[in-house]
Subunit: 203 residues, 2 copies
DNA sequence: CTGATATGACCTTTGAGTAAGTTACCACGA
DNA sequence: TCGTGGTAACTTACTCAAAGGTCATATCAG
């Protein structure tokens, strides 16, 4: 029986995996885990579903691979910034600048780690927790510094402030996704203006 | 043939609808639209799936009913606060206070209008848009005021700042959901402390 | 010819939605 | 007071479609 589409297309496994991860990350990041189907990813990649299963084992395996690639990127970047000497709001701004630069082509990567529709148990949850905690820990560290400058060391206050900070980053990434023409630099300048407006117009 | 569980249980339709809406709102609000199954709602309510379909027509109809009930509540509250004379950060805080008071028993209601897994077309999208735009418009109005105090009237800046503001509210609601013992008043005091820390510790 | 790349056609599970029937309540006439 | 019929409340047992996952097989490069 003739199958006109079967047989290798000459794409090495690593290249194909990279391509699949690119597409999957975008889909997962923009639509969420639950709303993304493996068949849709296969379609976009111009390949068939079984190839994805062959390479990644399962939908969860694929998501995990996306997490590993994106999480290392994100966490490494933030950790490097944390090693700098900026403190308080300064450090927040430096972090933002780094994130914008890093995520310029793909702001949706950020969403991978804050997707409510991803499984909350099993190995995905572990992987998410791993990176989310790394990010969270650094955020917490920065916030703790900021708060201690203001003489506040209440753990719940710090926890809430950290949540707010991550929420701010999250909303900026979402806004960016809706305004894809903005460059990382423009985003950063915008953030500085917003900060000025906040501190200048009041108090 | 005997069906031990069939037949009315003597619960009037309105009562049952209210009960279903309570449970559905909580499920949709905490798990998201896609991850919530009608069967699970029926289970929690101690009734069968068809009764829900009988009353609400479809999963989307049920979600829409949740939106209508919750959206009216939220938008009315924010609109009322907007009629007050607070301006800038003050207005933001007044809004927060109102939201905390209103959502004390059910912070997850807020999530209904910002659920990425809800259908983005059809009547649900319309209903979401209706309320989300009402909320958004008021947020935009407040932010525009705040920004103009600082001499900034760039539309994109205002748009981004509005997104950030809504993101802050969002993250506070999420944090609240993870700390259900906090009262509305405690939440508000906490927010004031965070604000103080932000303005006191820097600049 | 062997192994890597690749696929069509299937199986299976899950969850939305429905058809058809069962039971309890209640108004009303005798 | 006692049927009795109509309606509202409610369920079991299904259908159907979508999506995760698998199997056997086909093609091509070296």
């Amino acid at each position: 029986m003739v199958r006109p589409n079967a047989g290798t297309k000459g794409v090495p496994r690593l290249d194909r995996e990279t391509q699949i991860l690119d597409i999957a990350s975008e889909q997962f990041g923009t639509q969420g885990f639950a709303a993304t189907s493996v068949a849709a990813i296969a379609d976009k990649a111009g390949i068939s579903k079984p190839l994805i299963y062959n390479y990644f084992g399962s939908k969860e395996g694929l998501y995990e691979a996306c997490l590993d690639r994106g999480g290392a990127l994100l966490a490494d970047e933030i950790e490097q910034i944390a090693r700098g000497d900026a403190v308080g709001i300064e450090r927040g701004m430096a972090t933002l600048a780094g994130m914008f630069a890093l995520l310029e082509p793909q702001p949706y990567l950020w969403r991978l780690f804050f997707d409510a529709t991803a499984p909350s148990t099993g190995s995905i949850a572990d992987a998410v927790a791993l990176y989310a905690e790394r990010i969270d820990k650094l955020a917490d560290e920065g916030v703790t510094e900021l708060m201690s400058l203001a003489g506040n060391d209440d753990p719940l206050d710090i926890s809430a402030m950290t949540a707010v900070w991550l929420g701010i980053v999250d909303s900026l990434m979402n806004w960016w996704m809706e305004h894809p023409d903005e460059s990382a630099e423009q985003m950063m300048e915008r953030c500085l203006r917003l900060l000025t407006a906040l501190f200048g117009g009041n108090e």
